[in-house]
Amino acid sequence: MNWEAFWLTVRLAAIVSALLVTIGIPIAYWLTYSRWRWKFLVEAAVALPIVLPPTVLGFYMLIALGSRSPLGRWWESFTGHPLAFTFEGLVVGSLLYSLPFAVQPFAASFGAVDRQLLRAAASLGDSPLQAFRRVVLPLSKAGLVTGVALSFAHTLGEFGVVLMVGGNIPGVTRTISIDIYDQVQTANYSSANQTALLLLMISFIVLSIVYGLNRRPWAVGPWR
């Protein structure tokens, strides 16, 4: 059992899902309320990571983060080291990879809030952003929790993007799924079994929480 890889993975998933809350909420807000006619293109782009093979996403991420790309150069001049094959690079890759798993539940729950409530809030003196904070966010708690949990679980189990962008550097970019792959490659089945079982259990628990939370309507539920 490689605890170093385990904690690295948990750290990665926690950072990514926290960042996805801050990035995902504005994107979901825009997707829910924008009336731009080409909005569907953005929706499709956000959903891409769901259908793309992780290797394709990882390949483009590697190009985008590499020293030849503007982003890679900027990062290098800023920090003094390249973005690819680092933990930070892993975070950026995972953000994109898990983006739809946060944005889609967020947007679905924002969209489910009765527009009449927003009209009422406006008549009571709330700007659209204030109404969003005071009405939409509290009524979207289940969607927010779902988005965070799904992106956490999804990041926990990613393999292709991590391998392409991060490589397999112990303590830096070797995540739990790569560790399992390594163990199988070296015929270390019992260790692979332990790690795989742990990952399976964590994923099951997280998903159980998600489905448990969405079991009944929470709009008038026990949260205040």
């Binding site: 009422a120 809030a121 406006a122 008549s123 003196g125 700007s127 009405v135 509290p138």
Partner: protein, 408 residues
């Protein structure tokens, strides 16, 4: 303005109207309590939008003074769209909306104050109570800018005024429809808006609840004196509430004035309207009594006879000699065996019972009054105690307001 415009009407000078205006200087974001109390609302707007029947044209011009102004019209007349324009929730194509000395919208000046800066109270038809907040949290929602102490004081006051203190900690899902309506009204009123828009706030209520809520609203408005625009398609509410009525039809104002002036316009009878009246007669207007708010109609289409039957009915916009129909419900008519005296009802007609029929627990009596037959519904007990039978002479009594006028 096109055909839908109506001359600005400002016949009732109120105290509020004579107050000095602030000539547009009131900042939209001023604290809710510091604005000059009351001022009238003037609306002159056009808006076109597609609807299932093609293009809908809203084209109105009116002025509402402090007090109740009823927006009356069938569904699809444009009432809610008009309120949305005033509240800033949708934009007109052109025109001007002016309240309390400030432009909220002026297409010429390219001025359009955002909905949340307008300080116009709006109670929507479906109320829009926040399901995640308690009654009290809902009520203080619009008081964010006030100090906690001020907020608490205002909330205490309005909760008491609308008799909803008991349920302050409950959520909207846990209170009754009438209570929810009170909460929605309280939530809008507590912000001390400079105009109030009510979109059928009483529609879902039973009669006692409705009238107590109306009383609460009236009391509130005696103090605050702001224009209140109330949408309804219920004629009774018009008389109960209205100081002034604006009748809307397919986006245009077809009449404006006091309820008895506007509402008594005969309308074409429909199957639904007919179904309620057992007695419908052709009639001719023979006299108008504007001072009393009534008129006299002669029944029957035949040539005027000397002793033709006449009924006193509510006044409608009609001329002497014009033809219309009078509908009276059988249950609204009374029978007496002696000529009644000291009665407020204005129509007391002699007649003879032609026929009595028992229908379940109701007795339907056909009464011939000088050649015109009325159907009267009685209880079994009334029939027995008056010893009614075929051929008996009776007096038929009808209140003026039981006589409904229908267009021909």
């Amino acid at each position: 303005m096109g055909g839908g415009s109506v001359a600005v009407k400002a016949k009732k000078k109120t105290k509020a109207e004579t107050k000095p205006k602030t000539s547009g200087a009131t900042p939209a974001t001023a604290p809710a309590s510091s604005y000059p109390i009351s001022a009238d609302l003037e609306v002159r707007i056009r808006k076109r939008f597609p609807n299932p029947e093609g293009t809908f044209n809203l084209n109105v011009h009116f002025r509402a003074l402090a007090g109740f102004t009823i927006l009356f019209g069938a569904s699809g007349a444009g009432k809610t769209t008009l309120l949305d324009c005033i509240a800033g929730l949708t934009d007109p194509d052109e025109g001007r909306i002016f309240v309390g000395g400030e432009d909220l919208y002026d297409s010429e000046k390219k001025c359009n104050v955002a909905a949340w800066k307008r300080r116009i109270g709006y109670v929507h038809q479906d109320l829009g109570l926040f399901p995640h907040l308690t009654v009290e949290e809902n009520v203080v929602y619009g008081l964010r800018a006030l100090s906690a102490a001020e907020r608490a004081a205002r909330s205490r006051d309005i909760l008491a005024r609308f008799r909803i203190e008991r349920m302050r900690d409950r959520r909207p899902a846990q209170i009754s429809g009438g209570e929810r309506q009170r909460v929605a009204l309280a939530r809008a009123l507590v912000t001390e808006p400079r105009a109030l828009l009510l979109d059928e706030p009483l529609a879902a209520l039973d009669r006692p609840t409705k009238s107590s809520l109306v009383n609460d609203l009236r009391k509130w408005n005696q103090h605050y004196r702001v224009p209140i625009l109330l949408v309804t398609h219920n004629g009774e509410e018009v008389f109960a509430l209205g100081d002034e009525v604006i009748m809307l039809d397919t986006g245009r104002i077809v009449a404006q004035g006091q309820p008895h002036e506007v509402m008594r316009v005969p309308r074409l009878e429909t199957v639904a309207q007919l179904s309620g009246f057992e007695n419908i007669f052709d009639a001719t207007v023979v006299g108008l009594h504007e001072d009393r708010g009534t008129m006299t109609c002669r029944l029957g289409t035949s040539q005027p006879k000397k002793d033709a039957l006449e009924l006193e009915t509510p006044l409608v916009r009609a001329e002497v000699g014009s033809r219309l129909r009078v509908g009276v419900r059988a249950g609204d008519l009374l029978l007496a065996t002696e000529k009644p005296r000291g009665l407020s009802a204005r129509n007391i007609l002699p007649g003879t019972i032609k026929n009595l029929q028992q229908r379940d627990v109701i007795v339907a009596a056909m009464v011939d009054c000088n050649g015109i037959e009325f159907e009267v519904h009685l209880t079994l007990a009334a029939r027995d105690s008056l010893k009614l039978g075929d051929g008996k002479s009776v007096w038929l009594v009808a209140k003026t307001h039981s006589c409904h006028l229908l267009g021909v």
